[in-house]
Symmetry: C2
Subunit: 276 residues, 2 copies
């Protein structure tokens, strides 16, 4: 999906919500455990319930890899299920990959190629190894790198605020430097909702780029604050909620409750979109 | 495998060689392509040929993930094949994972748990997200985190040399800070062979930790230089070679050539070990 299509999708649905498919087998409703593939059944029902209110899905690979090969089969089935819905949603592999150039090229093939098992629209990438670790992901047409800049977790403070002689912090350096590698059409940044006040600085450095924002909900970030400081004239935000939607209820009607939660966020987002 | 066992293995084999199983399907010998699982057949023959000369194997996940689910089946079969050889070699998943604590816990389960598909001894981890992204990997007994510090690629310069007001570079900050999270018994650092002169500084910061050293061979690093500056009294080095060994020849006798290359490195290493 290209930038224009993404912006149109946001306008159509009046939403910039991403549902995180962090489908932990230990947390999915008991009623699904009799199904042949409980994780896929769970994802399918979550997708059916939330699709009108969300513009993106973001499976985090860790929750699939922890189940070994059968977990990845659940992920592949989920991507196959999404195949005829790809104009209605942007799909991000939250995998935080990155390696030397030769090797990143293999990861790019794994996640972004339409010849592979998944064919995602975007992949989260860790910046630590620099240009040649990121560039191979930027060669796929209409596909995106979502580069970690300022993450939502407590440990973000350990290195991301590391400050240079000229008062530049590492996450700012990442945002500045990586704009030499990618453009607003293929590069986004991860900026955690738990650091909403930082969005002012981030928007000075990257006024037009899309930001993927985790940390709303279970991690404590505020949608209102993030929207206030992060929205630009093209929207420019994709705000993710995982646990707050998919595990809002663990009874038989878990999908109805997820739908309700997604709809509530979409209604709130619609009000913020009106103001831009 | 714990530290003592690893040191004993190095002493027994008089080697600190790691063979990188970066088994790119496009580079493995043509003669294997008729096999049911060419990648597994390749790994098996490489392992059989090199085991006397190497103390570790390091499959890089990218080369398996790029083949989708069938690539991961090849990896699992390789790990199963290594099962009765685990006292003779240390096995590292080169996966460069790392996520918020809740999620890293899932990756740890995927790679380090003996209940999972793989049961590796160690996993490479990216430091960008800080403490809670690394700590979950440190909770498995006799298992190791190999944290990226100074990598072997050109892009390493983009952020790893980022320098603070008090002249500390990011890779040094990573080495210092992470020693509050793990010990010499469960934490190693990735330090690229292409930066051998930096090993002097690194050894000041981490005199006793094991260093995993990629970049010898195809990437241009020198075993002699790395050994000169990196060896400590317990050896303290695991030097990886991937392409230089496994793809040294692509004929029917590829494994004999790989054996020869591994043996040459082991002989050189033996001479350096004598001096410590």
């Amino acid at each position: 999906m290209n930038r224009k299509e993404l912006i149109n999708l946001i306008k159509e649905k009046q939403s910039y919500l991403c549902v995180g498919l962090d489908s932990d087998i230990e947390k999915i409703p008991q009623c699904l455990m009799k199904e042949e593939d409980p994780v896929f059944s769970f994802n399918k029902r979550i997708i059916d319930a939330t699709l009108p209110y969300t513009i993106a899905y973001k499976p985090n690979l860790a929750f699939y890899e922890s189940q070994g090969i059968k977990g990845l089969i659940s992920l592949k089935k989920t991507m196959d299920y999404l195949k005829d819905k790809r104009k209605e949603c942007f799909v991000i592999a939250d995998a935080k990959r990155g390696d030397i150039g030769n090797t990143s090229k293999q990861y790019a093939k794994a996640f972004l190629s339409n010849q592979g098992d998944y064919d995602f629209d975007a992949l989260t990438v860790a910046p630590y190894m620099g240009k040649d670790s990121v560039s191979p992901f930027l060669t796929y047409e209409n596909k995106w790198v979502v580069l970690l800049a300022l993450t939502s977790n407590e440990g973000a403070a350990d290195f991301q605020y590391f400050e240079s002689k000229n008062n530049l912090q590492l996450f700012e350096k990442v945002i500045i430097t990586s704009q030499q590698w990618g453009t607003e059409d293929n590069l986004m940044f991860v900026c955690g909702a738990t650091k909403a006040e930082k969005f002012i600085d981030i928007r000075l450095l990257a006024p037009h780029h899309f930001l993927l924002v985790p940390g709303v909900g279970a991690q404590g970030g505020s949608l209102k604050e993030v929207s206030k400081y992060g929205l630009n004239t093209d929207c420019g935000l994709i705000v993710n909620s995982s646990r707050g939607i998919i595990f809002a209820d663990n009874g038989e009607d878990f999908d109805k409750v997820a739908k309700e939660k997604a709809m509530q966020m979409q209604i709130e987002m619609k009000s913020y979109l009106k103001a831009i």
